[in-house]
Symmetry: C2
DNA sequence: CTACGAGAGATTGCATGCAATTTCAAGCCC
DNA sequence: GGGCTTGAAATTGCATGCAATCTCTCGTAG
């Protein structure tokens, strides 16, 4: 719902928040960067009030954290935090699949298969950027189909934190075909209409990422 | 009747937030109440800046929601929202049990059994208030043992939203013995050290509450 | 050359001013 | 008597003033 489209009608604080968030997610503001109110205010061309509010929101959402007497600092999501995030995400993504399996129509399944086909093509072509984008859209679509607003909100929050961490750690292009395979398994499970199967498929997908993460951690 | 709550050395905004949150959770500010900035500021004896910040935080945490051109309104957590909340909680509480089962020491198990004994005694005596308190402490202890800060934060958020809804809907004293039984099952599972069993126990406990909720909804 | 201290600058947190907008209600016209 | 208009009070969102505090650098003493 909140894409980059309507940036005009909201207040300054809202736009400041979105701009700041984008800057952080694009790594324009690297982890460790101090987000002082006057600094952010000037950067975004607003006064201190909306800047302060934007920073507060960023901090609430875990994209920055407060250091006493130092203000907000862009979060450096380390491996341990990433494990925490993926543990929670594993449970929630499983839930999303379970809920989605109950509400999906055959048309919805077709829609996911479309996405899947595009995704497979992109991976076949080695297009990492498109892979990343379609992977996001796949999960976004599933949580949308789940129809649970709190779940959606949480998963989106986790997604952003992961995206922030992606820069710190490494993106794993090696897992692209694996992702497609697992996504297909998820769609198959969703189509079957079996909630247990669907949940298992969703969970194991994220669980695999978590294990990869732990493995990479042990190596590096 | 101003601020008799715990006054830490935190800032005014922090205290304002805690005071306001307590007022909402104690139903001193009923669902539907408008939280206008000047009103809250006067109520808490602070200026508009910390009041505004407190309201923003309350809103962010789902205890109030924004109505355009009306400001924040204390959330009226209806049955549909409660279902959403319990669906998420079911998954997360299961995760908490799973994680806890891996990190718990025998002493931790003993601690939970102590809690359980007190709880059982309170229920035996028909002490609803103590039941409620010990039920909370039981779950709080488990998520603490799980050792995942994001999970803890989320569960606490959900807990508060549920508590807010408790006033709107009904508290079910009939489920007290059931709760003790299920908690015992959870402790047994945790003690066994089997993550799968532990997760299932935690999930089914919340799942039962969710089903009770749905049943009550169909009746009322 | 190193350790330390003082001062300058910057930042946070809170208070308050101000304009645009909205809500609410009383009064008027039909 | 009822519906509509108008006006006043209130609210939000943003800008800014201000004091206390902290950081960080640079100069100085040992």
């Amino acid at each position: 719902m909140t894409t980059e489209t309507s940036n005009q009608e909201r207040g300054l604080a809202e736009r400041a928040y979105l701009t700041l968030r984008a800057a952080i997610l694009e790594h324009e503001l690297a982890p460790g960067t101090r987000l002082s109110v006057p600094n952010v205010a000037e950067r975004l061309g607003v006064s201190r009030s909306p800047a302060r509010e934007a920073i507060a929101r960023i901090t609430y959402e875990g994209l920055a954290h407060f250091e006493p007497n130092k203000g907000a600092v862009v979060a450096d999501v380390d491996a341990a935090s990433l494990v925490e995030i993926y543990e929670v995400r594993e449970a929630l993504e499983g839930l999303a699949c379970r809920l989605a399996s109950r509400r999906m129509s055959p048309q919805d399944v077709d829609g996911l298969r479309d996405l899947l086909a595009q995704h497979a093509a992109a991976v076949e072509a080695g297009d990492v950027e498109t892979h990343y984008k379609l992977d996001m859209r796949f999960h976004a679509r599933i949580r949308e189909l789940a129809g649970n607003t709190r779940l959606t909100t949480q998963l989106e929050l986790l997604q952003r934190q992961i995206r922030l961490a992606m820069y710190t750690t490494h993106r794993s292009p090696g897992g692209m075909p694996q992702a497609v395979t697992e996504h297909r398994r998820i769609v198959d499970a969703l189509e079957s209409g079996d909630p247990v199967l669907a949940e298992a498929a969703g969970r194991s997908h994220i669980g695999r990422l978590l294990r990869d993460l732990s493995a990479a951690e042990r190596v590096g």
